[in-house]
Assembly symmetry: C2
Homo-oligomer: 132 residues x 2
Amino acid sequence: MNIGNASDKSGLPAKTIRYYEDIGLLKPDRAGNGYRDYSMSDVHKLRFLQRSRGLGFSIEECRQLLALYEDKSRASADVKSIAQSKLQEIERKIIELRELQHTLKHLVAHCHGDKRPDCPILESISGTAKSS
Amino acid sequence: MNIGNASDKSGLPAKTIRYYEDIGLLKPDRAGNGYRDYSMSDVHKLRFLQRSRGLGFSIEECRQLLALYEDKSRASADVKSIAQSKLQEIERKIIELRELQHTLKHLVAHCHGDKRPDCPILESISGTAKSS
DNA sequence: CCTTGACCTTCCAGTTACTGGAAAGATTAC
DNA sequence: GTAATCTTTCCAGTAACTGGAAGGTCAAGG
């Protein structure tokens, strides 16, 4: 399929998809007319990249994740150790998102935006003291 | 406290903290010698920024989140609607992280890196067919 | 067949969000 | 007092896109 279609299905702008090709992340086939030709497998990888990037992984981390995803026949211990450290990172990110969620929920529940300067929840979260 | 200390406590490089000041995200006090002086409240906000950025929110989104966090006495409906949409985004990110976690766990559990080109889990995830 | 509009191509420049390094002043440790 | 370790500002470089120009391709309508 063409890049526009792949873009719709993956959620990545066509520009970004071309950029990912430039830096060697994902190289699609080419049709006879020179158009890029994406397989469903390519689209899944693009979606995978779209998510990973959106979740704060760097391009290089995404490259590793994609290599895992593609199983570049590495030594087992190697694959496992990278995957394991990524899993820890994911676990941490989930916890952080839960905390952020918690903070915002309290905000919605308890702060009324009525120009009081003393929202009790925020004070309890952030504190006010100066220290060296 | 000095910027180095704030850097240690927030997890953000001093460079980045200064950059955030440049773009008007967080303006600390200044000590008599011209050094930036961070309060604990500032450090909490920096940590908040460190996390939000690491979780894939853009600077502008972080600015909004920080405004919520600081309760910039907006109209209640305004605050709530922004917070609500951020909460949805957070919910989505958590789900995506869980899916990524799921994928990697299967990888670790079922792919042995023994140079077989046919890891069954990855095939089931990504598919192989071409379509227009 | 021809045009029109929506695709696609490459290339190059601009933006966002840092990041590194120089040059110089302030502080702390001996 | 002086050396090491802060800190300051400023300017340049990098990472990861993003926009726009100039031009080729394709499917639909007349």
